[in-house]
Subunit: 211 residues, 2 copies
């Protein structure tokens, strides 16, 4: 059983709210990224917050500690429940996001490995494992692992222990959901739902992963 997390990477506020609202019965959380937040503002959290689902700011925060903290403070004071940061910029940078999340009673997930083809170019030879260990050491609430490489999700989930593993890359990116849904704590799906003519029906097709 895995959660279904809607990646709401649309650019238009009204359309974002309509899609999320239609999908409420079929999803467990909403993940927004910079494409939507840059066009609509962080305040989109006020609108989406009314849907009573956890709201994840997937900003893949990857700056120096001081800047990471400033970003995370704005995210949590705007009402988001969780943030996604990169581990690649090192322990102090990740820690700035994790600590800020916890100060606000929120959660922080660290990207251990990315889902796109270029995602293995620098995330290899033990680096995703090292980032996962860093995430656990720093008390992150979970890690992000690529559904496009199910064997990696299994491996990193094993390493992550009781921390959550959320997994993007299903659908448009080509990941096979059958393999990943049995392993990950949450499956992140974007284009397959929000680009559908009927997003609610598209989301409903994934209902089996939640049982």
């Amino acid at each position: 059983m895995a959660q279904l997390i809607l990646a709401l990477d649309v650019m238009e506020k009204r359309s974002a709210i309509a899609i999320a609202t239609a999908c409420i019965p079929c999803i467990d959380a909403i993940k927004v990224g910079y494409p939507l937040v840059l066009s609509s503002g962080l305040g989109i959290a006020d609108d989406l917050g009314q849907l009573d689902l956890p709201l994840i700011a997937d900003f893949k925060v990857a700056d120096i500690p001081n800047t990471n903290r400033l970003i995370a403070e704005q995210v949590f004071s705007s009402g988001y429940d969780a943030i996604i940061c990169h581990g690649f910029p090192g322990r102090d940078s990740a820690m700035a996001c994790i600590e800020t999340a916890h100060e606000y009673g929120g959660e922080c997930y660290v990207v251990a490995e990315m889902s796109h083809p270029g995602g293995t170019e620098f995330f290899h030879d033990g680096i995703p494992e090292e980032i996962t260990r860093l995430a656990i050491d720093c008390d992150a609430d979970g890690v992000i692992a690529p559904a496009t490489r199910p064997e990696r999700v299994a491996y990193l989930k094993n390493l992550a222990g009781d921390r959550k593993v959320y997994s993007p890359g299903i659908g448009a990116q080509g990941g096979e959901i059958e393999k990943v849904a049995a392993i990950a704590d949450g499956i992140i799906i974007g284009r397959s739902i929000y680009e559908s003519a009927d997003p609610a029906a598209a989301a409903r097709q994934y209902d089996w992963i939640r049982r």
Copy 2:
């Protein structure tokens, strides 16, 4: 001779504009990051654009190619002149930012190595060099190298050839400007200027690097 680039990492729009305006005679470009843009919106480019200085969106973009492109499109259609992206998410991700920048007549700089203490945890053993080569191959306009490690700036500048090298980490982060100003094409300074009681006077102290 190096450019002086003001890192305008303040959170308040009015104060950002006041500081930038006061510093005009002493700076060559303005760099804004997410702390300011999340609080003020991408539209801060309209206000800062009136100062007639190149405006750099330092978003350290680090997502999958599709998302990177969506972010870069918003940045350039909002009037920014350049964007900073990460190289560690791989060639396809960096390429999405670089291509979008060039489509809009803008520039893109790739982070080769970061300036904070944790910045050597994963950026080591040839990785900054590999990212610099990737940036050149992908026709990026420059790379970012850490003023906190002047010998690395020199090494990466040598590798970067005719591409620009911009260097943050002076002042609050402890970088020694004398060493780096002779090597880098631009010095990025934030807190030492914007946290000063007299930002214009603080910026003027760096005027010698521009001669």
